[in-house]
């Protein structure tokens, strides 16, 4: 890896002001069962490099997996040519923020039980075990389950002296299950993910997790009532707190969206630079994004621009506190990057991304929040969700929800909709639990699309006086 990276770095630096080169080797295995039977399984492997450079304030990028020196040279030449051609149109030159160089850094995630040492039979066996654990009284109209594992080794070097090598194993589970009951049906999309070894499997206890989720869906289908309407409290379970943190706080605080770079794809943001310090939520809300959480799905210690990662406080005590930056957005605003540049493969440019986004815990117990609620709906988990491209209007429809009256859970509720603006959501928070939990997801952004592993989470959280209604 080092030789071809050094070669490309030298080639680029002769004709540009900044160059970075990344080599990446990755293997990912995928094991699949459909309706309890083995499906087509397999693996992907890749090894390639990318070169990103600045020429007169214009950004050029190239990637290839043909690592013959002649080919690398022609790719660098083409990237330089394109950047030079673009620079003729530049009115505001791109300037990267000044950052400390980190040389000869090496880090990895230790696997207590190496994924590569686990047999294919054992990996497929986990999926069979999950399927076998589904209770007999739960009728499934279909199910599709994946267990994926892989290892990504990266070597990053730039013309400012950084050289960083990392090795990160990842394991994830994905299940899509359709439960039918009494002529109605409901679907669960279940996901787990971590940067760790095979020990994740025992930690997750997937058979019980999946069996519990489908049993809950059966109960909701058989006993659930239509959601009440009108004004009431909404209690967000950790899964709902997590998705709202990701969608209506993490994304709108991405500086590249705010500055318009993603305008034609994922959109822009209701947040503007001059809103830093403005109140967006109740005083008790502090919301962070932290890539350094050990073994997390979004884990990294140095981002894909070589900047050291750190925890970011996006909302502090209810106020907009910090945005997510890479070197390009930070440079444009005269700031330092906070290490939010990520790319999902060697052939993608690093852009501003979240890692692990969550609400910090409060001092309420979950049971206390329920007991102190006069009338409300506890939405433990969600199915359908979306948010507009300014991240202002969001919708979450419950997978599991319960009606609460006078401090007691009364009955399950089917398909409770929460359709609310972002300021209303965060300013309505009047109780935050201490029961932080995390949920895995793949966040989509960029063009070409870059799906990237993240965690979303937080504690149980109450939104006071929300109007419910407007669903099918």
């Amino acid at each position: 890896m080092e030789d071809i990276c050094s070669y490309a770095l030298e080639l680029g630096l002769k004709r540009s002001s900044y160059v970075e080169v990344k080599a990446e080797r990755s293997v990912s295995n995928e094991f699949v069962i459909k309706n309890g039977q083995p499906e087509t399984s397999g693996f992907d492997s890749s090894y390639g490099i990318s070169i990103r450079l600045l020429v007169n304030g214009a950004l050029g990028f190239c990637s290839t997996n043909n690592l013959e020196k002649d080919n690398v040279r022609s790719m660098v030449d083409e990237a330089l040519r394109m950047a030079r051609a673009a620079s003729a149109h530049v009115k505001k030159p791109i300037v990267f923020s000044k950052e400390e160089a980190h040389s000869n850094v090496k880090y990895s995630v230790k696997e207590r039980s190496r994924l590569a040492d686990i047999s294919i039979e054992e990996k497929m066996g986990v999926l069979s075990e999950i399927h076998s654990a589904i209770p007999n009284d739960v009728k499934l109209a279909g199910n599709l389950m994946n267990l994926d594992d892989g290892l990504t080794e990266k070597y990053y070097v730039n013309s400012e002296g950084s050289s960083i090598r990392s090795s990160i194993p990842v394991i994830s589970f994905f299940g899509f299950l359709t439960v039918v009951e009494g002529g109605d049906s409901a679907q669960a999309m279940l996901e787990k993910g971590a940067a760790m070894g095979w020990e994740a499997i025992s930690k997750w206890d997937l058979p019980n997790y999946v069996a519990g989720e489908v049993s809950t869906l059966k109960e909701i289908l058989s006993k659930g009532k239509a959601p009440p309407t009108g004004n009431m409290d909404i209690l967000c379970g950790p899964e709902v707190t997590g998705i709202a943190s990701h969608e209506s706080c993490g994304h709108p605080y991405e500086a590249d969206r705010i500055l318009g770079r993603e305008a034609a794809q994922a959109g822009e943001s209701f947040v503007s630079i001059d809103m830093l310090g403005d109140r967006i939520g109740s005083e008790m809300v502090t919301l962070v994004d932290d890539p350094t959480l050990e073994n997390s799905f979004g884990f990294y210690l140095y981002d894909d621009e070589g900047v050291k990662a750190r925890k970011r406080q996006l909302i502090k005590d209810g106020r907009i506190n910090e945005l997510l930056h890479n070197r390009e957005t930070a440079g444009q605003l005269g700031l330092s990057s906070n290490g939010s540049a990520r790319c999902n493969n060697y052939d993608r440019e690093p852009i501003v991304r979240m890692a692990n986004t969550y609400v910090e815990p409060g001092d309420w117990k979950r049971d206390e929040i329920i007991e102190e609620t006069k009338r409300g709906i506890l939405i433990n988990s969600f199915t359908e969700w979306n948010i507009d491209d300014r991240r202002y209007n969001q919708k979450y429809v419950s997978r599991e929800a319960h009606y609460i009256e006078d401090g007691e859970i009364k009955y399950p509720v089917k398909k409770a909709p929460l359709e609310v603006t972002t300021p209303k959501f965060w300013s309505s928070v009047d109780a935050i639990g201490d029961d932080v939990r995390f949920f895995a997801g793949n966040c989509g952004k960029g063009e070409p699309m870059q799906g990237i592993p993240v965690l979303m989470g937080g504690p149980t959280m109450r939104l006071h006086d929300i109007q419910v209604g407007g669903s099918l």
Binding site: P38, G42, N71, H89, K92, N143, A263, A264, T421
Partner: protein, 428 residues
């Protein structure tokens, strides 16, 4: 090379083998705020190998080109210990004749195209992306099929902002530069942006809705995957058990057509080497077939539709047959309702029932007495996809080629009028 890989896998005990070698060379220019933000070039080689061994089915995609032999060994190792896929019924065999390769002309100067966009956008903000792609592949199978293909395409997707909340979006997608018109796309996006200035918050309720090709393209993208036999068998399609039944309005004819010379999803053959064809998915509102590869077709007792996808049958180009109405006549036909020019973030609550929601973005216009009377914002379509298909009441005569970030499957669709659509919005 693919033939050698096929033979190597057979020598190691495989029953069925398909190997495809793919190469692509792609350029992209991204732009925002009337500035080029990145110029990119990709050079990629890959090899895809599919094999079965006693009904144990495995697949790999290799971009680590120095380790192909090791990957083959690993793949064989996978196959030897994998459980059998009971619903696997083999790959295509036969002597096929393929259409002639049609040369594509995508000889454009991307920077000049982007500069012309900036010039048209003028004092409005333009953001977007332009691609120029050249790709080729060669395929060999253990059933004796050998074939190759190559093609090029160009596409631009752009959004123009009149102000922070007044925008329009348009695309131009083509195989040949005579069909590529970035400037027209920019003018359309700019016109929509201009008309969107001063949008008011929309109301919830039930509305007759006119969808632009861009918006309908997003919905067709989601519909297309639900016609795949793989998703039907996985319980992830509202088309399950509906062959021969009414799934759309009688005026709806929907095709998957991998043979269109102008389609971005076209090719000479599918991933098994079966020559591409045009399939009627919905005829006068009746579901005629799912998308199949050889194996799913045998399971369902039909012929392959040439849509392999070796794991899951995949759409090529979706084509919604146009109607007779001009754009102006479509507005008259709508009378009173909403005209939605784009959408995003379509998510299903339940794929097996079709319950979903999607968020209109860019220009959303109120239509009164057949004329646009104002613009609105901040609404959501919360309805059922099956119901929407059944409620289609008119089709425009203006099909457009759609492919962009929110419409992965290339499609050709006109404006579409749908009656009685449920619209919701945030409560506070």
């Amino acid at each position: 090379m693919p033939e050698e890989v096929v033979q190597r896998c057979l020598d190691l005990g495989a029953d069925d083998v398909i190997c495809t070698r793919l190469e692509s060379h792609r350029k992209q220019i991204r732009f925002a705020n009337n500035e080029i933000t990145a110029s990119k070039i990709w050079d990629s080689q890959a090899m895809r190998i599919f094999l079965s061994m006693d009904k144990r089915v495995v697949v790999t995609s290799i971009r680590d080109m120095d380790n192909i032999e090791a990957s083959i060994s690993k793949l064989i190792g996978f196959a030897k210990v994998m459980g059998p896929k009971e619903e696997y019924y083999g790959i295509a065999s036969g002597k096929y004749t393929y259409s002639d390769m049609r040369p594509n002309d995508t000889d454009i100067v991307e920077e000049d195209v982007v500069e012309s966009v900036f010039s048209i956008a003028d004092d409005y903000r333009a953001a977007g992306v332009i691609y120029n792609t050249h790709s080729s592949n060669e395929l060999a199978t253990s059933a004796g099929i050998k074939c190759n293909d190559k093609g090029s395409s160009m596409e631009i997707s752009l959004r123009v902002f009149a102000d922070k909340q007044a925008s329009g979006h348009s695309v131009s997608c083509a195989r040949n530069k005579k069909d590529f018109d970035a400037e027209a796309a920019c003018r359309e996006a700019k016109d929509i942006a201009k008309m969107s200035i001063g949008a008011k918050s929309g109301s919830e309720g039930r509305f007759d809705v006119l969808l632009s090709p861009l918006c309908m393209g997003n919905l067709i993208d989601h519909i297309s995957f639900q016609t795949s036999a793989f998703y039907v068998d996985s319980g992830l399609s509202f088309f399950k058990d509906k062959i021969g039944k009414d799934v759309a309005s009688p005026i709806v004819n929907l095709y998957d057509d991998g043979t269109r010379p102008d389609g971005l999803g076209s090719g000479r053959y599918d991933e098994e080497g079966v020559p591409s064809r045009k399939n009627t998915l919905i005829e006068e509102g009746v579901l005629k077939t799912y998308l199949h590869n050889t194996s799913t077709a045998k399971k369902h007792g039909v012929e392959t539709t040439a849509n392999a996808g070796l794991i899951s049958p995949e759409p090529t180009n979706m084509v919604l047959q146009e109607g007779d109405f001009s754009p102006e006549e479509m507005l008259s036909e709508l009378g009173n309702g909403l005209y939605i020019t784009n959408n995003w973030y379509t998510r299903f609550q339940n794929y097996s029932t079709g319950d979903f929601s999607t968020i209109p973005r860019d220009g959303i216009f109120v239509v009164k007495d057949g004329e646009i009377s104002g613009s609105i914002k901040e609404i959501r379509i919360s309805d059922n996809m099956q119901r929407l298909l059944l409620n289609i009441s008119a089709l425009g005569n203006d099909p457009k080629h759609i492919h962009w970030w929110e419409a992965e499957t290339p499609c050709f669709t006109p404006h579409v009028l749908i009656k009685d659509v449920n619209v919701t919005r945030s409560r506070g």
